[in-house]
């Protein structure tokens, strides 16, 4: 249970804030006061996750010599909901919907995510067909009743679900986001018959157009709700019992925080909280370092996550896919329509396995060696080569000092595996096979980043990369070279970045509503009334946790040329909207469009598909760090093979502390640390920044 702490710094004493991030393998903790920060990692306890949380909290408080009562705020994120969906461990759930549409969840968009796989598997709906029940009712696209709700049919459906023993019920009707009255009436009928069952309404969970995405989100919410409510209840009780009196907040996938009460109602909004914390971590570093255009690159054991951060705000989106079954392929998961931090995740990590495909090409991932047996060099019986094996053979790791010297790596085993699976089929020796594997995984990550930028209407050139996770600092410089990026920042505390990111998150909530408008005949009153209602809803949820701290409110219109596919988010000047504000909106849209697409389209009206309102407190500042000074310690050298040129040569190896004093370290070199190593490639130089991050700059 290693506990790392940054050196004590002078400053004002303040109240302590604690973040806990439950991941698949580790539960990460970060504790901060105004003066300093402690971080810690403990193993996750999947059967009862709160146990790992409690033991981790006890340990980090011991290290900091604090009592539970000293904690002023606890922020928590967890993959529990995500894992319940991936492993199908959620509640037995029923779904009541418009008659004639019980198969919306099964039909999806009627497409295959892989054109060439005859045996393709599509994700199964979370609710089987016999628990998806249609009831007569119908609204039109404007919310007018075409067919009144059949109350008897709802009652009969409730009885069917009771007999089937469901623990949770989702209700979603066509166009119910425009007019929720039928859904609300159905809820009352179900509630009287099934008083102990949780009920999720589509018009509350995800009030947006597109029935498949909305129903999928609602059903997923219902599916994880009982489990999450029980877990949150147990956690809260246990924390109070240990003497922690502080308010507890949950990290949302969209990057804000919410109360336990709201989390119990809408647990689906917690799914991507860990990666969201990582993006906030990078965003905070971007803000502190005044970097306007950033690529966040988080490479772990099984995947790499890439997020674009412009003007210190991570890119956000309104949809996400959970539990992808087709090798991380788009379209192979269950769609969720919730506010999320937008990132692309690909199956490329230290544990990703390498092989040779039918065309004699090196392929890396998405299969992973996992933690057990792990890469061949772990010496735990792994026979196939992973990216970590390739890095080791290239000389990038010191086999005796990996993971702070806690694990001795077996170079010979790595060589055997690489030679067998990659070298022999291609006629390469183990060292060149290793080079091929690393080049290919770097290329794959760079390609994913480039395509993601195109999908987002931007580019990677000229950005600064913020590299973290176990593999980010190792692969960062080479991926940057491939993307035309000349600056890479490796932050301190990179190993528990998500937990630290939680501490930077504002208390925030975002409400999104569909309301179709054309600028040419814009209904200012209707839009203003909707925005005001959305603001009230978001403000109420935030007020529960802001403790009267000042909040800010922002609104966004999702706009496009009439008929075009992709919407552009445009900030609303204010509301109620005056005529001049609508003209302003059109000008802002044109500016934003030109930025995305170079050339405007002549003579087209603009339409608005939906609106978002976000209410948030200001982000929380972190402790002020200061350089500690000191002269560089004498380094050693390691024989490392450069993947761009293929040449083997001596690279200097130094500690991060050795960079203090400010003199740049010229590459090729390695900055070694307990948790990872930062590679400074040939042509790059490294300097330590005031916040103890390492800045790599490409000189040539």
């Amino acid at each position: 249970m290693p506990v790392h702490s940054s050196p004590p710094l002078p400053g004002q004493p303040g109240q302590a804030r604690l973040a806990v991030d439950i991941g698949g393998t580790f539960t990460d903790l970060a504790l901060e006061t105004a003066e300093r920060r402690w971080t810690s990692k403990v193993l996750t306890t999947p059967a009862a996750p709160e146990e790992g949380v409690l033991s981790g909290i006890a340990a980090i408080l011991r290290e900091a010599a604090m009592a539970p009562a000293d904690i002023a705020l606890l922020i928590h994120g967890t993959t529990l909901a995500t894992n319940a969906i991936i492993e199908r461990r959620g509640a037995r759930t029923g779904f009541i919907t418009t008659a004639g549409f019980r198969d919306v969840l099964a039909l999806g968009n009627e497409s295959r995510y892989d054109q060439y796989d005859l045996d393709i598997r599509l994700p199964e709906p979370l609710v089987p067909r016999h628990l998806r029940l249609g009831v007569p009712e119908r609204l039109d696209n404007e919310g007018r009743v075409l067919l009144p709700l059949d109350a008897d049919a709802v009652a009969a459906a409730a009885e069917t679900l009771r007999a089937a023993g469901v623990q949770s019920v989702a209700i979603g009707f066509l166009h119910g986001f425009v007019n929720p009255l039928h859904e609300q009436a159905a809820r009352e009928i179900v509630r009287t018959r099934l008083p102990d069952v949780a009920i999720s309404l589509a018009s509350e969970v995800s009030p947006e157009m597109r029935e498949w995405e909305r129903f999928s989100t609602t059903v997923a919410n219902a599916y994880v709700q009982p489990l999450m409510a029980r877990y949150l209840g147990r956690l809260e009780t246990a924390l109070r019992a240990m003497g922690l009196a502080a308010p507890i907040f949950l990290m949302l996938s969209g990057g804000g925080l919410t109360t336990i009460e709201t989390a119990r109602r809408f647990p689906i909004r917690l799914v991507e909280s860990g990666p969201a914390g990582g993006a906030l971590f990078a965003a905070e570093i971007a803000r502190a370092s005044a970097l306007d255009r950033v690529l966040s690159f988080d490479m772990g054991g099984t995947t790499a996550k890439i997020c674009l951060i412009d003007d210190h705000a991570p890119q956000t989106a309104r949809s996400f896919e959970v539990a992808r079954i087709g090798r991380f392929r788009k379209g192979s998961g269950l769609p969720l329509r919730i506010p999320v931090i937008e990132m692309v995740e690909i199956g490329a990590g230290g544990g990703s396995l390498a092989s040779v495909d039918a065309l004699g090409r090196i392929a890396v991932g998405p299969q992973s060696a996992g933690a057990d047996p792990g890469p061949a060099c772990y010496g735990r019986g792994g026979a196939h080569p992973a990216v970590t094996d390739a890095n080791l053979l290239l000389g990038r790791y010191d086999p005796d000092r990996f993971a702070g010297g806690t694990m001795k790596l077996d170079t010979a085993a790595a060589a055997v595996a690489l030679e067998a699976d990659v070298g022999r089929p291609l006629g390469l020796d183990a060292a060149m096979a290793a080079l091929g594997v690393v080049e290919m995984v770097d290329e794959n990550m760079a390609n994913a980043a480039r395509v993601h930028a195109v999908e987002s209407g931007t580019t990677q050139e000229g950005r600064t990369m913020i590299a973290f996770g176990g593999g980010g600092p190792v692969h960062g410089y080479r991926v940057a070279e491939k993307l035309g990026i000349r600056r890479v920042l490796v932050p301190a505390g990179a190993g528990v970045g998500s937990a630290i990111g939680f501490l930077r998150a504002p208390i925030a909530y975002e409400v999104v509503r569909s309301l179709y408008q054309r600028l040419g005949r814009f209904d200012r009153e209707a839009v203003s009334a909707l925005l005001a209602a959305m603001q009230r809803e978001a403000a109420d949820l935030v007020a529960a946790g802001s403790f009267d701290r000042p909040t800010s409110t922002s609104g966004i219109a999702y706009m496009r040329y009439v008929g075009q596919g992709h919407e552009i988010p445009v900030t609303l000047p204010r509301w109620p909207l005056a005529p001049a504000d609508v003209e302003q909106l059109r000008r802002d849209y044109d500016t934003a469009y030109a930025r995305f697409y170079d050339r405007p389209v002549p003579g087209s009206d603009v339409e608005i598909m939906s609106f978002a309102v976000r209410v948030a407190t200001a982000p929380m500042p972190g402790p002020q760090a200061q350089p500690t000074g000191g002269a560089p310690a004498p380094g050693r050298t390691q024989q490392v093979r450069d993947t761009a040129q293929g040449t083997l040569g001596p690279w200097r190896v130094v500690d991060r502390a050795a960079l203090e004093g400010g003199a740049p370290l010229a590459g090729p070199a390695i900055v070694a640390e307990a948790e990872t190593s930062t590679l400074v490639g040939p042509g790059w130089s490294a300097t330590l920044q005031p916040d103890r991050s390492i800045l790599l700059v490409r000189e040539s």
Binding site: G100, H175, R210, G360, E455
Partner: protein, 588 residues
């Protein structure tokens, strides 16, 4: 062992190949992001690729639909024949929708753009997209010649050294019901090729290259070798199959004789029906596209599409057969025949590698083009209300064929790679109401693995006012066959909700107070239904997609309506005489 320098060079080739695939993927994503037509941005009816100076395709975007595979690939050669590479300048863009020089109907625009690096032309980018309107009769089978089917664009320059050809744009704006969308789409196609060309130049700089010849040789050699090895794994021999389409006014026979040799596969379509007087005819390039897809998905699914990986697949298509329609035959809805070709190819390959093919599926998209308002009902007169003017199409599918390992997919497109759009979105752009859109019980072909289920769709307008459907449906008279003892999927149906049958093809009125009822076909089953685990049969009954009667008749499994299995009778022999129970096979 190679020397390190050779090894590095070989690894670099692989890295550059990967990069090229990413470049064309960026090209395709740019199109999806900027396109106006729903067919491109929602449905994904597009493709994108990079070509060498001889017009040979090096790489194609993964995003896209199979119908464009060979056809777009062939089209670049036609562009180069009219505008030789030496005449091309930076900033030029060339365009056509000629069905015989492009991808088979006027709705597909193909744009070709030369790519330059340090002043020298190094390759070409091409893309194809299905746009929403090109004037004429609109998507449908009713045309009697291609001239009725819309605006005909020969290969012309739409941008010259970056300047738009305003005469060209004047013509297309004037010729379309949706001029803004059409013009916007042309801009989008050009922009997406520009993106590809920019990326290619950056790649050449990064790797210190002056051209793509060396890389092309490497890609072609690797692909050729891998494809030939894959063909070598198929038992050599001659395999024949046939399949029937409902046709426009009479059934259409598609026949194929496939010769699998050591390193090539040759298909002869002799015996196929002659041309149709309506727009279901298939130009040869489109026939080659879907036939190649059908072979590749079985023989070499992992090998990317390029000139060399497709070269060993050779087609002989007799003149004047429906798969080799000459100009000016009507071809607007050539997909309705063309999308049966993978089933035909798999009918041949079943005889060689039965464990690798799927049963027949619904296969042809069941897209209902709907129109209402004055164009159908005339102007409002007297007290008679008339629907608002609208024109809308959704992309829907029946069930796919089962495979030796899995059930077919319910209501999923195959072989087409397109997506459908939400009912809520459709109802927001047109005054239509979908009263039902759900799985169709008892439509799956029985088998050890059952076929995919079809769908039931019931469509009306708001207020049940008159509207029209321009039908392009198939597998009503000729349902999907099973394989290896699996049974047929249910036939499709096109009706008024009150019961009267409609024609499967052509423009028809749905009168006031009526609704359109579409019964989408099911996929064929694979293997003997009696070998299907009774628990799976019971689960289908529990889920309401198989009736208790059918479970006993087809599978010999007695199940209560609640899905409880009666173990006593689980082994009872199925009633072989019942309709729909006869196991069929495409084997001849």
């Amino acid at each position: 062992m190679n020397t390190n320098t050779d090894a590095l060079a070989a690894i670099r080739m692989q890295v550059m190949w990967n990069r090229l695939v990413a470049v064309v993927e960026e090209q395709a994503q740019t199109m999806i992001r900027t396109a106006f037509s729903t067919t491109v941005r929602e449905a994904g009816d597009l493709s994108a690729g990079i070509f060498d100076l001889e017009g040979r395709m090096l790489a194609q975007a993964v995003t896209g639909t199979p119908g464009h595979v060979n056809s777009m690939m062939e089209s670049v050669g036609h562009f180069l024949a009219k505008f030789p590479a030496a005449t091309m300048r930076p900033g030029d863009h060339y365009i056509t929708n000629d069905p015989w020089l492009g991808t088979g109907h006027l709705h597909d625009l193909t744009v070709v753009t030369p790519a330059f690096h340090r002043g020298k032309m190094v390759g070409l980018f091409a893309n194809t997209a299905h746009v929403i309107d090109v004037g004429g009769l609109g998507m449908g089978p009713e045309g009697r010649s291609v001239f009725e089917e819309g605006l005909y664009i020969p290969i012309v320059k739409c941008f010259s050294e970056g300047r738009p050809n305003e005469t060209f744009f004047d013509f297309i704006r004037a010729g379309s019901r949706l001029p803004v969308e059409l013009e916007g789409d042309v801009y989008s196609l050009c922009a997406c090729n520009d993106t590809g060309a920019r990326r290619l130049a950056q790649m050449l700089d990064e790797f210190g290259l002056t051209g793509i010849e060396g890389l092309a040789d490497f890609i072609f050699a690797s692909s050729r070798r891998a494809t030939e090895a894959a063909i070598g794994a198929i038992p050599a021999g001659t395999y024949a199959a046939e399949i029937w389409s409902d046709g426009y006014d009479e059934p259409v026979r598609l026949a194929a004789r496939m010769q699998v040799r050591a390193d090539t596969i040759e298909v002869d379509f002799a015996g196929t029906s002659g041309l149709s007087g309506r727009g279901i005819n298939v130009p040869a390039a489109y026939c080659r596209a879907y036939a190649s897809f059908g072979i590749k998905v079985v023989v070499a699914p992992q090998i990317p599409n390029n000139w060399a990986s497709l070269a060993p697949l050779r087609m002989t298509i007799p003149e004047d057969c429906i798969l080799n329609a000459p100009r000016p035959y009507p071809v607007s809805v050539r997909h309705v025949i063309g999308q049966l070709l993978p089933d035909l190819m798999m009918g041949c390959l079943y005889q060689a590698v039965p464990e690798r093919v799927a049963a027949e599926g619904s296969s042809c998209l069941w897209n209902p083009p709907l129109r209402g308002g004055a164009g159908v009902s005339g102007q409002r007169r007297g007290n008679r209300p008339v629907a608002e003017d609208f024109e809308v199409i959704t992309f829907n599918s029946g069930g796919t064929g089962a495979t030796p390992r899995r059930n077919g997919l319910d209501g999923t497109a195959f072989p087409s790679g397109v997506r459908t759009m939400p009912v809520e979105a459709t109802e927001n752009v047109a005054p239509v109401v979908f009263w039902r859109k759900e799985l169709r019980p008892d439509s799956a072909g029985p088998g050890r693995h059952r076929g995919g289920l079809g769908q039931v769709m019931e469509i009306a307008t708001k207020g049940d006012l008159e509207f029209a459907v321009n039908a392009i449906f198939d597998r009503v008279g000729h349902p999907a066959k099973g394989r290896a003892g699996g049974g047929e999927g249910a036939a499709g149906g096109v009706r008024l909700a009150s019961g009267a049958a409609l024609r499967t093809k052509g423009f028809q009125i749905i009168p006031d107070g009526e609704r359109l009822l579409l019964l989408l076909p099911g996929g064929g089953g694979y293997g003997d239904p009696r070998e299907r685990p009774p628990a799976e049969v019971a689960a289908d009954v529990r889920d309401g997609v198989l009736s208790p009667q059918a479970s006993q008749r087809l599978y010999g499994v007695r199940v209560g309506a609640d899905g409880t299995l009666d173990p006593e009778t689980a082994d009872a022999a199925p009633d072989q005489g019942a309709p729909g129970a006869a196991p069929t096979t495409a084997r001849r």
